[in-house]
Subunit: 212 residues, 4 copies
């Protein structure tokens, strides 16, 4: 909007990608509530509070997925503060990230339904949930690696050292998520708690390392 | 867009926060309709009008929640007319507000289902609804207190007196909402009516005290 | 953005109202699809096409509501091309319009469910649908009458004659919609067809009278 | 925003059309997840993974529709990079495209439910799905033909040869989609796979022919 002629034009595609992505993040985070089921009135008769308490897994899953999508939204913005130009490749890698974001209400519903059941089904539900987050983390890494490699997409070129460090940092996140798939088969509730804590970590880690 | 160089740059994050928040407000207010259930055709046989009349609690809950989210949207804008810079702390406090906003269709469904039942379940449903609004009011207060304390986030610094008055004003609102949790155990329908009236009050109060 | 200092500043609230309204229009028009029910696979066994044909009322209701919301979106823009300033009163009248817009999927579901049943229930469903559209038309009229009376909200002041003519024109639309409530008790399918034709009329009427 | 006075003003309607369309694309692509059904916990007992595997048609349909809407979003932008002015005719042709986009979750649900059944119902479900995409392709062609014919809507006038070539190109796409309706009656799973491949083709084809 106030660019000198010498500087290459910031591709308008990034603001479109951001607007579309923000739309999908906002819709996905708000749709999560549709997976919360109110107990039917002929079931509760006088025990609504007890029924709501028994349904704690659906509230825990809701809260975790809300935190995950919220932090993804914040970090997507951080990333697109540095990525200032777009091409079709970036657009489709971003669609891949949105695929896993938009899908999240489904494993959230699985966890809501099966966490309280325990047993093999709870493990499978937690593993599907963790796999979804791992795939989202991979998509995040791919977007970043793609943008870094095609340096001209970035606001400022990075030194090879900084480049390697930033890609490595994303890879570590991906491996942590992949490890939660294995953890799911040990304990489904612990896995959900860990997912919530990882989201909190990414919230605070960003505050420290990027803004300052 | 037309800022002098002397004035500190208005952080673009606030327009992003507002756009994302507007998205969540717009989606939450429109999703409420999905909680309205049409009576099945094999139930109504020739008595559709009577069935719709019997389901007045779901329409009352819909209208109240629509008014609440609508007024929240207006007041969120009022607040972000005064908050012109953002940091990560503000971003996450705002996500906390969006959490309670996006959750509202769930207690709305509880009230729709249980208000007509009466008894203990109606009280619990109204109390959960009131608790949700109380948590939203607390989040509003936290955003404001945070922005006021970090004065540089505001468009104009406030005098210590005005600062204390504005924070106090939010606290009063929070206490009123907290009182509706207690009221829920006296009468669920009265509680819903009071929530609707509080929303109307905030609509008109804003017109008087902020715009002029 | 390019205003001379002499001219009063165009209130930014109108672009916010338009963005929020566009959000609600876009969500309401897209949510309509959730009211379309796929026949269960154990019901269809080999007769899916026949079952889909039998469910023509839900497709007719979907198409009509899509046309209604689409035309409302276009005409809302026409109106806000002329309304360039906003105050809180306008904001709340606009929320009233959004209330009836966001509610439309509910009477659409009623018509989908009861149009094929015939009898008293079909009449009630069509009447509720028509009442919803009448209330939306009233809200449109109120917004326009309010903006015209407070002339300073308009881009260009209108002559008293043009003012009276434009308000009258909205009133006629409202009476036409009110008449469809009565028509509902004569024939529900004819009422739905008339609603579709009124939407088409408003689409073309706009093309002729406003753009040129 | 930075136009010389000589150049005709770019009609603001295109940015509104794009914003509204982006909203509908973002909502439709995110709503698809609501058609994914988690198996009920009393059905799965210990066999959740097997049940999820058996429901592969719903995941295949989800993925295909996600790819289709994603590519439609990208190509809608490509088209509106060249269309810089709008009139009411374009606005309503665009609404026609949004009608078929917003409807897509319904045939997606049909395919999810019936693909695994096989037989006549699977063929009908695939044919309805293919018909929906054909109608969307026709709407795309109409928008382009309309904009080309009214040359003043385009950023740059086209030579008659380029004009004919571009309209022809859209027509070919429409015929390919129409052919998938026939294919549906040969094999429903193959049809779904072909739809996915056509979406991929349009993704890559765009990368080659438009950006460079």
């Amino acid at each position: 909007m106030s660019e000198s002629a010498a500087e290459p034009r910031r591709d308008q595609e990034t603001s479109r990608i951001e607007a579309f992505s923000d739309g999908v993040f906002a819709i996905a985070i708000t749709l999560l509530v549709l997976e919360l089921k109110a107990p039917a009135s002929d079931v509760a008769h006088g025990e609504l509070w007890a029924h709501l308490r028994d349904e704690w897994p659906q509230f825990a899953a809701y809260l975790t997925s809300f935190a995950v999508v919220g932090v993804m939204w914040v970090n997507h913005h951080s990333m697109f503060n540095q990525i200032v130009r777009a091409d079709r490749g970036l657009m489709f890698l971003n669609l891949l990230l949105l695929l896993w974001t938009a899908l999240l209400p489904f494993p959230t519903a699985l966890v809501s339904e099966y966490l309280g059941e325990g047993g093999a089904d709870a493990h499978v539900a937690a593993a599907v949930y963790s796999a979804n987050l791992t795939l989202a983390a991979i998509a995040f890494s791919l977007i970043w690696a793609y943008a870094v490699r095609r340096g001209r997409l970035l606001a400022r070129p990075m030194s090879p050292g900084a480049e390697r460090a930033s890609v490595l940092r994303f890879s570590v996140g991906t491996f942590v998520y992949a490890a939660t798939i294995a953890l799911s088969f040990a304990s489904a509730p612990v896995t959900l708690a860990v997912q919530f804590l990882i989201a909190l970590y990414y919230a605070f880690e960003q505050v420290r390392s990027r803004v300052t």
